[in-house]
Amino acid sequence: MLDPYVPLVLMFVLATAFSAVSVLVAPLIGPRRYNRAKLDSYECGIEPSPQPIVGGGRTPVAYYLTAMLFILFDIEMVFLYPFAVTADALGLFGLVEIALFIATVGFAYAYVWRRGGLDWN
């Protein structure tokens, strides 16, 4: 009789093995090209500091806005998937509900769009 936790343990073992192999093998077979970006805290996006003087030395707020919009639509998808699977069973009530939900997300999007949140300069 197989314990129900065995697959879980197996999953942990697989995950550990995968990450270990990735980390250990990459230096052996991967190419090595060193540059300045490699030494930054983050290897992608902007450098955290220092920011240009013209912006007051502050991180552009547009990054946060993009992240917020991403979360907004991410959450929308979280609700749309279960709705799509059970759309038949939910009937008209479910359709109206999800339309209202999309509308509220749309209001936020309309606000960002109209107020210039999507203009990147």
């Binding site: 707020v61 059970t86 509220t104 209001f107 606000y111 109209r114």
Partner: protein, 533 residues
């Protein structure tokens, strides 16, 4: 048979197997006030998106005030049509019972006063809110925009969202809904704290402090919910109460969960040792927002505390009541004693609100009908007094904005006898002197506590009231018996909005003081209990 027909047949067979999911029963009439407020908040966002800048203020003010009136009318109509209030709707998520309806009414009326203060543009030219909150304080752009008359009209939809969250919060019948409501009411408030036109660094500091500590408290609340779910296998208040009434489970989860949950709630209500954010945030936030926070957030938070304590933990009250005794005592003493040392009028009222939170907690832990109706009355009375008091604070100004340092209030009665008189009356109400609503509120709460066998707590509360009365009276003495300094502040002539808000608060403070029976009857009418089915 064509492919299309085959596809149609198999699809038909598939569709035939679908068993429709039953939509939950929704009593739209009962939740209409809440729907109006949240719906109007969405419309407000659209106004911000599509209206030209110069039209926004007037449209937003009209929308917000109409919404509050409309929601109030919907509430009155529902009360008239349904004398047997107490419906649990939306699949058991919301409990629109009599306390919830009373709290909704209280919230709507208090928010009306606060919105009038927020909308005022005559006391501070252009309004208390800055138009570009992101401009760095102290720069050339900042000095330029201090003189510009523009205002961040987003505060109106934000106020409505916060108000909607508060309404859900005091009617929510399960802890997860309560958490969502807590976030909906908190997030707009964090933002609104940082939008002050004057003293912007202080305002931004307040917003960050409130946000960080608020997020911390939300985590406490959520962790408590998780532990209680582990205990009762449910987040519904009724299920937790039933699980606690049985004896076959480990109490560790129950009490750990209860403790964490209550910490989250007490933080929002700025009670006792969880008050650390209150003075800084009350001082830094724009005064109209402080009025909104001090009145409405307190109502919502105590609505939630009352509902959780009576709905889910009544059976175990012997175990936790001692702890909340201690919390109430600490809160009253901190509020009264630290209030004595304050030199800033807004910080002083903040510590007074900590003391009042202690008094409210005394009523909340009575867990009797009298305790419930007394606390509800106290919330209504305190809210009006506070809105009016912050309205007056916004009137006394120097060239740099509000004159909040106490020394600047010296001799105010010689400059403006009327404003000094009104403020004296409001301070007496906060102190709980007879002929004001504050006296009746304290009386009903303390007598409920006495009947429930909490005499020592009432003695401490009376002592704390006496200490607190000293610092209210000190301001009165300062206003009447000191010589005004030559370069002292001037008292602005209030615009009609602020005038109405202050008059409303003062008149109701007086009416509830001399003729409290009608509200007490309403708050205490038979069968006034939480329904948690």
């Amino acid at each position: 048979m064509t492919v299309l027909e085959a596809a149609h047949t198999s699809l038909g067979g598939f569709l035939a197997q679908v068993t429709p999911i039953q939509a939950p029963e929704i009593d739209y009439a009962a939740i209409l006030p809440m729907l109006i407020v949240l719906g109007a908040a969405c419309v407000g966002v659209l106004f911000e998106a599509f209206l030209p800048r110069y039209q926004r203020w007037s449209w937003q003010v009209a929308l917000t005030l109409l919404t509050l009136v409309g929601a109030g009318l919907a509430l009155v109509v529902y009360l008239r049509d349904n004398p047997q209030q107490g419906v649990v709707t939306l699949a058991g998520v919301l409990s629109v019972d009599r306390p919830a309806l009373f709290l909704w009414g209280t919230l709507l009326v208090l928010a009306f006063g606060a919105v009038l203060l927020i909308a005022d543009r005559s006391v501070e030219p252009g309004g208390a809110f800055v138009s570009h909150a992101a401009v760095r304080p102290g720069t050339i752009q900042d000095r330029a925009q201090a003189a510009r008359l523009g205002m961040q009209t987003e505060v109106f939809p934000l106020t409505l969202f916060a108000l909607g969250g508060m309404m859900v919060f005091c009617a929510s019948n399960n802890l997860l809904t309560m958490f969502i409501a807590l976030e909906v009411l908190s997030l707009p408030l964090y933002l609104m704290c940082g939008l002050a036109r004057r003293r912007r660094l202080l305002s931004q500091e307040a917003a960050v402090k409130y946000f960080l500590l608020g997020a911390f408290a939300s985590a406490f609340f959520l962790y408590g919910v998780a532990l209680l779910y582990g205990y009762a296998n449910s987040v519904r208040l009724r299920d937790i109460a039933e699980a606690a009434a049985g004896t076959n489970r480990s109490d560790t989860l129950l009490y750990a969960g209860l403790g964490l949950l209550v910490v989250g709630l007490l933080f929002k209500a700025s009670v006792g040792p969880f008050h650390a954010w209150t003075p800084d945030v009350y001082q830094g936030a724009p005064t109209p927002v402080t009025a909104f926070m001090a009145a409405c957030t307190k109502v919502a938070a105590f609505g939630g505390i009352l509902r959780v304590l009576t709905g889910a933990f009544q059976a175990t009250s012997w175990e936790w009541r001692g702890v909340l005794w201690g919390v109430a005592i600490v809160s009253m003493i901190i509020g009264a004693v630290l209030g004595l040392t304050q030199t800033d009028i807004k910080r002083m009222i903040a510590y007074s609100s900590v003391a009042h939170a202690g008094f409210l907690l005394v009523g909340s832990i009575a867990l009797t009908g009298e305790g419930l109706s007394g606390t509800l009355f106290y919330l209504l009375a305190y809210g009006f007094t506070t809105v009016a008091a912050f309205g007056v604070v916004s009137l006394v100004r120097t060239a740099d904005g509000e004159a909040t340092h106490l020394s600047q209030w010296a001799g105010l009665a010689k400059r403006s006898p009327l404003v000094a008189g009104v403020f004296t009356f409001l301070l007496l109400a906060l102190a709980g002197i007879p002929l004001t609503s504050g006296f009746i509120g304290k009386f009903v709460v303390f007598s409920a506590a006495l009947k429930d066998g909490m005499a020592p707590l009432v003695v401490v509360a009376l002592l704390a009231s006496a200490v607190a009365a000293f610092f209210y009276l000190r301001v009165v003495v300062l206003m009447y018996f000191s010589e005004p300094s030559p370069e002292g502040p001037t008292v602005s002539v209030p615009g009609s909005f602020t005038m109405v808000a202050i008059t409303l608060g003062t008149v109701i403070t007086f009416v509830l003081g001399v003729w409290p029976a009608f509200v007490l009857d309403w708050a205490g009418a038979g069968g006034f209990a939480f329904s948690t089915t």
